[in-house]
């Protein structure tokens, strides 16, 4: 467990340093994720210990959003003023994204796969 946590922290730190060094506006942990992902491809499998620690951490992932989410209390006035365009944006954009992605993927993969998948 500790080895895996050390590895995750090390990847994150590497990611943060890469972001600083290259001066790119990508979040450090995302670059850390790419670093780990490349490592997994090189190794060719997920070490068991790492898999266990990651599952444990990701199972609790929702909890980790709460402190940041509570920060919305500092924007209540703003939300009170602009709730209409924000709601419209969220609803329309989410439905549009689902429609575009779903229709395009279905169009591109064709009907034969649809049949195969439906049977499977």
């Amino acid at each position: 467990m500790l080895e895996s946590l050390a590895l995750l922290l090390f990847c994150q730190l590497t990611g943060e340093l890469i972001v600083l060094f290259l001066n790119i506006p990508v979040p450090g942990p995302v670059v850390g994720m790419i670093v780990l992902f490349c490592g997994l491809i090189i190794v060719g499998k997920i070490p068991e210990k790492l898999s266990d620690t990651a599952s444990g951490l990701l199972e609790q992932l929702s909890l980790l959003f709460v402190p940041a989410g509570v920060g919305v209390m500092t924007h209540l006035t703003l939300l009170g003023k602009q709730w209409l365009p924000l709601t419209a944006s969220l609803v329309i954009s989410t439905l549009l994204t689902i429609a575009v992605t779903g229709l395009l993927m279905q169009y591109l993969t064709g009907k034969e796969n649809q049949k195969e998948v439906n049977n499977g």
Partner: protein, 240 residues
């Protein structure tokens, strides 16, 4: 007696332990309620615990800064958890090998639609740039979306709430919409759910089929990567 109570309150309100405990306890209760209800998406535990904690903080006149001193210990784990997302992404790699081009094209189209349409609609509504960039990564999984928002000068806390709302919207309306549009291909359904509404959408896709769940999980991971790389470029271009 009153003296002792006030001594205790002074200790508690100054110690980070109170707000750390508050965060974890509210979340555990909210999750219990969510599971008890059979996983109704509008009873999302994050949304519910955020609302309760905000109510408590307002009632006790506690500032967010004081709250965050305790909650930061939970918040800090977001970084390593984001890195750990590489593991489920690696597991989905075999799904990527089927129709890689169709998948990447659809994902890119969905990813761009999600960010650009959100920016455009809110812009028409007269929303400021700081808020625009906070809602642009709304379809991306929360830790990545917050990172993007912070990097580009947005408000990560607003992003967190918007991302969760988007997830709930997609999870509850997505299946109906896909049905109406006659999207019956399980790969397409999964990809659409994961691209538009990340982990919460993937949670819903699990009830569709194994194929839909795998593609949804893959779409969630890839959309995070694609948006983290493309949005800064698009944003720089849009704001000049």
């Amino acid at each position: 007696m009153d003296d002792r109570v006030s001594v205790m309150w002074v200790y508690l309100s100054a110690s980070p332990l109170l707000h750390l405990t508050l965060t974890v306890c509210f979340f555990v209760c909210a999750r219990w309620l969510y599971r008890k209800s059979g996983g109704r998406s509008w009873l999302n535990p994050v949304l519910l615990s955020v609302l309760c904690i905000v109510a408590v903080l307002i009632l006790t006149e506690t500032s967010y800064d004081v709250y965050f001193e305790g909650a930061q210990f939970v918040h800090f784990m977001l970084g390593p958890a984001t890195v750990a997302l590489a593991i489920p992404l690696y597991r989905q790699l075999s799904s990527l090998k089927r129709h890689p081009i169709a998948l990447m094209v659809s994902l890119l189209a969905g990813s761009l639609t999600a960010a650009l349409s959100a920016i455009l609609i809110a812009k028409i509504g007269g929303v400021s740039n700081q808020i625009l960039i906070s809602i642009a990564p709304k379809s991306v999984t929360t830790p990545v979306a917050m990172g993007i928002s912070e990097q580009l000068g947005g408000l990560p806390s607003l992003t967190a709430v918007v991302v969760i709302l988007t997830g709930i919207l997609g999870a509850s309306l997505g299946p109906l919409l896909l049905d109406k549009l006659a999207v019956t291909n399980e790969m397409a359904k999964g990809l659409a759910m994961g691209t538009a509404s990340h982990g919460i959408g993937t949670g819903r896709a699990i009830y569709m089929s194994d194929v839909a769940a795998a593609f949804s999980g893959l779409a969630m991971g890839l959309n995070g990567l694609v948006t983290a790389i493309l949005l800064p470029i698009i944003w720089r271009w849009l704001t000049g």
